[in-house]
Amino acid sequence: MNVNLKDIAGIIRSKNSGPYELTLDILFSTREWYERVRDAKAIHEGVVCALYKIPPEKIINIVHFEPADAIKITIARPLCSGDPGETDVYGAQQHAPLLNLAIEC
């Protein structure tokens, strides 16, 4: 089955985790969707690298957190928060590429 992430996740957000990291949270609407995406291994390094145009070494971790039916992706920020060239000091608007991510599960 092919679905967009935004149709099966109630919360998709981004935020700084300290000034050097950006963390992306995907909280699925149901335990079932969480498990289906987890079991299909649909969100992995390759997907994140392609979505954000980053090399694998910029990915800090991808964690499954069952208590919140969530998958959490943390990447290195392109710049330390507030450095010259900054576009999003809080990192709160970096989630959009995930919304329409097509998931096969």
Binding site: I11, K15, N16, S17, G18, P19, Y20, E21, T23, D25, L27, L51, Y52, K53, I54, I60, N61, V63, F65, P67, A68, D69, A70, K72, T74, A76, P78, L79, C80, S81, G82, D83, P84, G85, E86, T87, D88, V89, Y90, Q93, Q94, A96, P97
Partner: protein
């Protein structure tokens, strides 16, 4: 070990973000042992730490504190403020202390106050750096002495120990400088004999108050009940609920790994944590553990000034200009560089293009223009405000009249919403220190001053 639950009223997500009186009164009716609020964050960026100013408004902070202090004095319970003034350096702590003293004067309130400093002298850090006691927090780069020389302000995140010590010495009101977020809630609970893991996890959630409820809010209270082997969370507005989902979701917020949360002196381990629904509005959490670290470390944050910023805001509605925008910005950069190649100062010039990649920069997966207008921010940073003005104004006027390929509109390329078109954004800081410092004594870096108010 105490049998009774330790009750904590967290008033708001950040001191100064406010709360409804009805929620506060509902909290007081539950007879809290502690009223506390976290006042800080590094999220607003390096400016506030470097410049010594708060990102919250004085009037709003005074309003929140006035209500908290009056109730605490009336009921004889402590108030603990963490990361006073937003960044918790001396300037921020003094700012908050002054507000507390003003409230006490105006309301004729009397209490014992402790002010705990968290600004770390550069020489202390330099000595530790030379002794191999400073390590970068990945992916921050290693600290160099040169970087340290240019750093204007360093703070350390205190753990619970300095706050417990201040309470032991009789303080009723504690104004703490930079502190690990849960500390202002966890310290009094640990002092009363409760478990560090549960107290810290509870503090992690209370520091954002009602953000962990549904519907969430940054300006409403949250109540915590800490037992021997569990804690419970209850939002104080009847419109909100704490659900296992909302509390578990909050555990993820702004963290790299939700299972292991490092802090001063050790990590919070949530691998065995259970989230349960006690009533429709109350969530119950158990199983969180504190794992002491082999060496006690304090997280350092420092800021360095890199110059002054001037910005100009404009837009374009011209499809040819939008098609040629890369050639235009390249051409403007070259003209600026050529015009000021003899100048005795360095500068950086940025163009933020809203409508293409203005929000995501290099992370933008589709850096194309598919709208009918484009927002443009021209940003210059240089060693003085005057030099930043010079670069910004020259880039702006060059862009306004730049003759790009295929141009039809020869009267001006930019729409300015304002006159003047350019704005001083003032001093520019960057984070220059984000490192761990190994310490022997968790209190040594955080001296307290006690006063009778």
């Amino acid at each position: 070990m105490a049998q009774e639950e330790f009750r904590i009223l967290s008033t708001t997500a950040i001191l100064g973000y406010g709360f409804p009186m009805a929620s506060f009164e509902a909290g007081m009716a539950r007879k809290p042992h502690l009223i506390a609020a976290d006042a800080g964050s590094s999220d607003p960026g390096p400016y506030y730490l470097g410049a010594g100013v708060s990102f919250t408004d004085r009037g709003a902070v005074k309003r929140d504190l006035e209500i908290m202090l009056s109730a605490a004095v009336e009921h004889g319970i402590p108030v603990v403020i963490g990361t006073a003034g937003g960044s918790g350096a001396n300037a921020h702590v003094n700012w908050c202390r002054e507000i507390v003293e003003e409230i006490a004067r105006e309301g004729n309130l009397h209490f014992k106050m402790a002010v705990i400093r968290a600004e770390i002298p550069k020489e202390t850090v330099r000595k530790a750096l030379r002794g191999g006691k400073v390590t970068p927090l990945h992916p921050a780069p290693p600290l160099t002495e040169e970087n340290l020389d240019e750093t204007v302000c360093i703070v350390g995140q205190m753990g619970v120990e300095p706050v417990i010590k201040a309470l032991d010495q009789g303080a009723q009101v504690v104004v703490a400088g930079r502190a690990y977020d849960p500390v202002c809630f966890a310290a009094a609970a640990m002092r009363a004999g409760y478990d560090q893991g549960l107290a810290t996890h509870l503090g992690k959630i209370l520091e954002c108050a009602s953000i962990a409820a549904v519907p969430g809010s940054g300006s409403d209270c949250m109540f915590g009940y800490l037992g021997k082997d569990y804690f419970r969370l209850e939002p104080l507005s009847p419109a909100r609920r704490c659900t296992t989902a909302s509390v578990a979701a909050h555990t993820l917020y702004e963290k790299t790994n939700p299972y292991v949360l490092p802090g001063p002196g050790g990590s919070l381990d949530l691998t065995e944590t259970k989230f349960e629904q006690e009533t429709e509005r109350i969530a119950r959490v158990s199983g969180s553990k504190f794992v002491p670290a082999r060496r006690y470390t304090v997280k350092l944050e420092g800021a360095r000034r890199i110059g002054y910023r001037t910005v100009s805001i404009a837009g374009t509605r011209d499809p040819v200009m939008m098609r040629e925008i890369d050639a235009v910005t390249r051409g403007v950069r070259e003209r600026v560089a050529d015009n000021f190649k003899g100048a005795a100062f360095e500068y950086t010039l940025h163009f933020i293009l809203y409508g293409r990649d203005g929000v995501m920069g290099s992370l933008e997966p589709t850096p194309v223009i598919d709208g009918h207008e484009l927002g443009i921010v021209i940003e210059a940073v240089a060693d003085t405000q005057a030099h930043a003005d010079t670069i910004c104004a020259f880039a702006r006027s060059t862009m306004l009249h730049y003759g790009y390929e295929g141009r039809r509109a020869t009267a001006g390329n930019l729409a300015f919403p304002y006159s003047p078109s350019d704005f001083h954004a003032g001093e520019v800081f960057v984070f220059s220190v984000y490192h761990l410092l190994e310490v022997e004594d968790p209190c040594a870096l955080f001296p307290a001053e006690h006063a009778e108010i």
